[in-house]
């Protein structure tokens, strides 16, 4: 176990392509639903308990050693919007490159061979955590943090929010993140016995719909 590796993996500067993605925040800003610190916090809370929880469950299961290709199918089943599947696989491919450089490991090589055009990002994240010597709960923490860290950074750029206020949003949601990560890691403990159905399958229909709208927008700063 090497806890500091979690800091490396979860660092926003980890070069895995995330900086160009807003996690739906750009479309929410365009639509006027996210316009200040309070609405950003509400957006993040919703995303954390839906997309964040699902990603954390997949990541924890991958970190626990469950078959990544079965988790790929589980991720597909939990990702209704084609735009979000595409984004997830692209980010997964980019994370795979960074993770293989950081923590060379046969399991990551095998996933790259099986999915040359990219595996779902949470699955790669969990496997990377495993190769870095981290636990399923660590992987779940990384996924939950990432699920709202990206939108907050994007909102700072899009709305010129005070960065201190925006960071305070993340700090206020930290207990929620702990809770979601624990729930995800619990579910991942049951996956060997019960299969991927044991993993969280919360959905956020508005994020699905707006991801599709965003994907066909001509003028936008973020890739998703």
């Amino acid at each position: 176990m090497n806890r500091a590796a979690l800091l490396v993996l979860a660092d926003g500067r980890f070069p895995a392509g995330g900086h160009a993605h807003s996690g739906g925040a750009e479309e929410a800003v365009t639509a006027g639903r996210v316009r200040d610190v309070a609405s950003l916090e509400a957006f993040c809370r919703g995303r954390l308990h839906t997309a964040g929880l699902v990603a954390a469950g997949l990541a924890a299961a991958a970190a626990a050693g469950y078959d990544p290709l079965l988790l790929e199918e589980a991720a597909d089943a939990r990702t209704a919007a084609p735009a979000l599947r595409y984004t997830s696989r692209r980010l997964g491919r980019q994370l795979l490159r960074a993770a293989r450089a950081a923590w060379p490991c046969a399991a990551l090589d095998a996933l790259a061979t099986a999915r040359p055009r990219g595996a779902h990002q949470p699955v790669v994240l969990g496997l990377a955590a495993r190769c870095a010597g981290l636990t399923p709960l660590d992987a779940a923490h990384a996924a939950t943090y990432e699920s709202i860290g990206g939108p907050v950074t994007a909102a700072v750029r899009l709305l010129r929010l005070d960065p201190f206020d925006a960071t305070a949003v993340l700090a206020r949601l930290a207990p929620d993140m702990d809770h979601v990560a624990a729930e995800a890691a619990d579910a991942a403990q049951r996956v060997q016995a019960d299969g991927p159905a044991a993993l969280p399958a919360a959905s956020a229909p508005l994020l699905d719909i707006t991801a599709e709208q965003h994907a066909v927008r001509g003028a936008r700063l973020f890739a998703s």
Partner: protein, 234 residues
């Protein structure tokens, strides 16, 4: 079902880390020379890319990656001008941070480069245009083998003196739009002198890439770099 995405490209090989290695091209062939073009907004990066494609496309296999800031303007300009077939031009989005995408986190650009290489097979040169940025923007060696920094005379003839990594360390400095010098009162000799003081032995060209023959010194420089790249150790 992937509406935005095609899984049908044949993947000749799996990519790992360490893509800065030259010997990585498929079939033992060395991969394409990757040249980054950076510089302030509107200095003429896209015009340089377009002129380079026109000058070199008969003799070399070229592809282009654009890093548009907000729209797909640059990629669409190149398509409209038909400097290259559409499958040779890819646009990457950079999330309000153009320099991050060419320096700190090159993931999306590397992916675009690899996809072009996989889809097109043999490529000699890939030109990567950064989104218009500031004087500190530079390309990571993990993404570009050589970088051109494009500034223009209309941006102020004191720019070379101001320095910054783009001016001081780029492999080629292009001071563009010399045709405008009389209209904006730019002192070309001072610009050349300041550039030399900042850059030592590194080359600088003063030119107007949109004028007939204006791209020649830049195209010649690419030919030289490519010859050195092809001859160099894999």
């Amino acid at each position: 079902m992937h509406l935005h995405h095609s899984d049908t490209f044949p993947d000749s090989h799996v990519h790992g880390s360490g893509t800065s290695s030259a010997a990585e091209g498929s079939g033992g062939r060395r991969r394409a020379l990757r040249v980054g073009l950076g510089g302030p907004v509107g200095s003429g990066k896209t015009a340089t890319v377009a002129a380079l494609c026109r000058a070199l496309r008969e003799e070399l296999s070229i592809a282009v990656v654009t890093n548009d800031i907000y729209t797909r303007e640059d990629a669409e300009f190149l398509l409209r001008e038909a400097v290259l077939p559409a499958e040779r031009i890819t646009a990457v989005r950079t999330g309000a941070c153009p320099h991050t995408a060419i320096r700190d986190d090159i993931s999306a650009n590397l992916e675009a480069v690899e996809d072009l290489q996989d889809q097109l097979g043999t490529l000699d040169v890939i030109l990567i245009e950064s989104g218009g940025d500031n004087l500190t923007a530079t390309f990571s060696k993990g993404l570009a083998d050589a970088q051109i920094f494009v500034i223009d005379v209309a941006g102020g003839d004191d720019i070379p003196r101001k320095g910054g990594p783009g001016i001081t360390s780029s492999d080629l400095l292009v001071i563009n739009k010399t045709d405008l010098a009389p209209h904006v009162g730019a002192d070309l000799q001072a610009m050349a002198r300041d550039a030399e003081a900042q850059r030592g032995d590194l080359p600088t060209v003063l030119t107007a890439v949109k004028s007939p023959g204006g791209i020649s010194p830049v195209a010649d420089w690419i030919r030289e770099r490519l010859a050195a790249w092809t001859a160099g150790p894999a």
